[in-house]
Structures are given as structure tokens and as C-alpha cells.
Amino acid sequence: MRYLENAVSLEFDEKLCNGCGMCVAVCPHAVFDLENKQAILADRGACMECGACARNCEQGAIRVRAGVGCAAAVLSGMLSGGEPSCGCSGDKSKCPPDGAP
């Protein structure tokens, strides 16, 4: 199954890559691959913008506008005039107080 591919915001600067392979390990859709000890964008269109690769790239070679591809979140963001916010987070007041700060 594939989604709208040309909307994807993922950018990869291969000049900064040190070939650690972290992006390959964390991507759930095999967007990255390793070739000659260097990461390559193997399937950019499959990116779902979860942001795992960028967060785990120590070289800062990856940039992506991370977010949740959820229409309900986008709608609630539109209605409240803010950023898309996932409604599945629940009501925090119902959560038990955590022992840690």
C-alpha cells in the first residue's frame, strides 16, 4: 500500500552521512538503504514522516517535518487554529500521578 508520494517533506544530505546505518534500522518503511557504507534514499515516496531517522541521525544529515498522518488530528488543529494535535492522547487528568517528576 502506498500513499501520496510527492507531498513527502523528507530531505537527506548525503555529504553529511557517515554511514552508521541508524536510519536504515529505525525506518519502518525501508526508505533508506546502505550502499558502499553510505546511506541512500532508496524509496523516498514510502516515507510516512514519523521522524525516527532524523532524530537518530547524529550527523544531522536528515530533515523531515515529523508528524502524525491523521485526518482527525489535522481537523482538530484546523478547528482550534493551532497545529495538528492527535486526539488519541486522552485526558491527562485521568492518568494516575507518576512517582517521578
Binding site: 502506498r2 510516512m48 508528524g67 491523521c70 485526518a71 489535522v74 492522547s89 494516575p96 512517582g99
Partner: protein, 363 residues
């Protein structure tokens, strides 16, 4: 559920929980041992949560737990304090010795919490420190589920607390193979899928979450259905009102069930388009089967309303899917939401007009 000391680690205080089975003595403190066999109650709990009942309160206390009889050299597996995540993990560890480090994600699953950042670098570091993990284990490796990676920065965790993060498989069920192969994940374990079974388990919660709105709209149509050019008529409530309510609920039910089931086979990539096409097929089938009678205005109204409802319901399934991007969803909504509003307004206008104007195959 339990009392916890200030450092946030559960102690024997949660010994009363049915999934606890004694404790393991360590250099730091006693760590509660979990059962790795799921009880009927655990399974019933999961089934209940699939219907959205008490989903936000299905939690376990964050902290360190033991599976089996772990030693200082046993692996540390990290997860969220959503009980379904916790249950999947301990069930995968049957017959093994391991440590389980549960983060506080407010009872949200690993992937969603990682997206929000609650399953994140700071919480990993905080939990490692509050449980005195460095005194309990001799190694410095944390196995974090791959889907936790959107929130966790492996190099930042290492800098902050000295523990190396390695990303384990997407599914807890793959953990035994992963652990046995020396923390090596095969490619297949790294891929997120969205098979028929994965989609089908999401249907109940879609029905529960959207059902309230569908019932509300159906109730409004029942009331409005009594309007005629000669005043309010109970006979019309039966014919137009109940028929309208039935069509609304039918359209919602069919979209919420068939949308997820048929997702890969519905044409188009945008979920709103997939839904609209499903709606057109539904209304086509209904008309062909002579299930749709009444005035021409009402037939036209439902020909617009049913695809609009289906488009909206399936579009909302993007949030449950495992492959849609925020940019893509925003792009499809730029054309889909105005089209859905137009479809709803025009369709409802035609239906209202049809209450006052007669004429058509069914009259």
C-alpha cells in the same frame, strides 16, 4: 493501582496485581517479577480495549520489572505503560530471563507516544536513573522497540546516561528470534505492515468513536423527516425520517467496516477518494437492488450524501493506518474537506427540499 516510592520504581507494592509473581532480589532493590503467561482476564482486557472501553486508563505503573530470573547480564527491554503493550512484551518473554523497563507514556502505546515525545529520550534517561539500572545490570545496552525511535534519540540517551540504545523488532512477537540471534533484526522484523488482520482489529474502535455522531445525525433526520408541505406528519416520520436515519447509519456502518477491510483494493491513494468510490459503489448497489425509492430529489440527495459520508469516514482512517504522512493527509484534505462540505450541504438541501416537493418513482 499501587503505591510507588518517590523514585518512581514499582516495588512490592504492586504485588497485588494479578500479573505479578513474586520478586527478584537485586543490588539496588527488589524488582517485581511479571507472569509471562497471559490470563483470561488479560485477554478479556485486550478485547475490551479494542472496543474503546476504558482505553485511556489501561495502564501499568512505570518502572523496572523482571521476567523469569534475570541476572545482571540479562537484556533490558524497554516498553510503554499501556497495558496492551506491556502484555505483548511479557507474553513474548515466556521462558526467558530479561529485565523490562516500563516508561511512563500516560497509558499510550509505544508508537503513538513516541510521536508525541512522551516515549522519548528524556523519559528513557529519567527511568534508567530512577530505577538505578546501572547498579542492577552489568552491561549498558537498552533494547528499545523500533517504533519508539520517533521519540528516542539513541546518541542523546548515550550521552545523558551512558546506555547504548539498540532498536529491536517492530513486533514483540519477533523478540525471541531477535534475542537468540544476538540482537540482530532481520529486514522483515523492521517493516511495519497493515495486513487484513491489523486493519480488522481497528474496526470496533472506529465504530465506537464515529457511532455517536452517526446516531446523532440519524436522530435529527428522524425528527426533520416529519416535515411536509401540509405541516408535521407522523406518517412522514416513518417514511422519510426513519428511511433517512437508516441510510445514514447504513452508510456509516458499511464505510467503517468495508473501508478498512477493502483498503488496498479501493482505487486511488487518498483515503477520501477511496471512501468516495466505496460510497458510490454502495449507493449504486442500493439503487440497483431497488432499496432506494422515493422522490427524485431524495435519490439525488443520497447519491451525494452516501459517498460524502463514506469519504469522510475512510479519510479518518488515516489516523489508524501505518503508512500515511502528515504532509500527504494535509494535501488530500485541501481538496477533500471542501468537497465533503459541499456534498453534505447540497445533499442535505436536496433531502430537505424533497420533503416538501413530491414526484419520482416512489410516489
Amino acid at each position: 493501582m499501587t503505591t510507588r516510592p518517590k523514585d518512581g520504581s514499582p516495588t512490592l507494592g504492586c504485588a497485588g496485581a494479578p500479573w505479578i509473581d513474586g520478586a527478584v532480589h537485586t543490588a539496588a532493590n527488589d524488582v517485581p517479577r511479571v507472569r509471562t503467561e497471559l490470563s483470561v482476564r488479560d485477554r478479556f482486557g485486550s478485547a475490551r480495549i479494542r472496543w474503546g472501553i476504558g482505553r485511556m486508563r489501561y495502564q501499568v505503573p512505570p518502572g523496572l520489572y523482571a521476567a523469569g530470573n534475570p541476572s545482571p547480564g540479562s537484556p533490558v527491554l524497554v516498553s510503554a505503560n499501556y497495558k496492551m503493550s506491556f502484555d505483548r512484551l511479557r507474553a513474548a518473554l515466556r521462558g526467558r530471563d530479561a529485565w523490562i523497563l516500563i516508561l511512563n507514556t500516560d497509558g499510550i502505546n509505544v508508537w503513538c507516544a513516541a510521536g508525541k515525545g512522551t516515549f522519548g529520550t528524556e523519559e528513557v534517561v529519567r527511568r534508567v536513573q530512577s530505577t538505578a539500572l546501572d547498579r542492577i545490570v552489568s552491561h549498558r545496552t537498552l533494547v528499545v522497540p523500533q517504533l519508539g525511535a520517533p521519540g528516542v534519540s539513541a546518541h542523546m540517551v548515550r550521552r545523558s546516561c551512558g546506555f547504548r540504545v539498540v532498536y529491536g523488532p517492530v513486533r514483540a512477537a519477533d523478540l525471541p528470534v531477535y534475542l537468540d540471534s544476538g540482537l540482530k533484526a532481520q529486514l522483515e522484523m523492521r517493516r511495519v505492515r497493515f495486513d487484513l488482520g491489523d486493519r480488522a482489529v481497528l474496526i470496533p474502535v472506529e465504530l465506537v468513536m464515529g457511532g455517536t455522531y452517526a446516531l446523532l445525525i440519524a436522530a435529527v433526520l428522524v425528527l426533520l423527516g416529519g416535515l411536509t408541505s401540509r405541516g408535521y406528519s407522523l406518517a412522514s416520520v416513518r417514511t422519510n425520517g426513519l428511511a433517512g436515519a437508516g441510510l445514514i447509519l447504513g452508510a456509516f456502518l458499511c464505510s467503517a467496516v468495508l473501508g478498512p477491510v477493502l483498503l488496498p483494493w479501493l482505487p486511488g491513494r487518498a483515503f477520501s477518494v477511496k471512501g468516495a468510490i466505496l460510497g458510490l459503489v454502495m449507493i449504486g448497489a442500493l439503487t440497483a437492488g431497488s432499496g432506494l425509492t422515493g422522490s427524485w430529489l431524495h435519490i439525488a440527495a443520497w447519491a451525494l450524501l452516501v459517498p460524502t459520508i463514506a469519504s469522510f469516514v475512510v479519510m479518518n482512517f488515516t489516523g489508524a493506518s501505518t503508512y500515511t504522512s502528515l504532509s500527504g493527509v494535509q494535501r488530500e484534505m485541501r481538496f477533500a474537506v471542501p468537497a465533503q462540505i459541499a456534498g453534505a450541504v447540497i445533499g442535505f438541501g436536496l433531502w430537505l427540499t424533497g420533503l416538501f416537493v413530491r414526484g419520482g418513482p416512489g410516489t
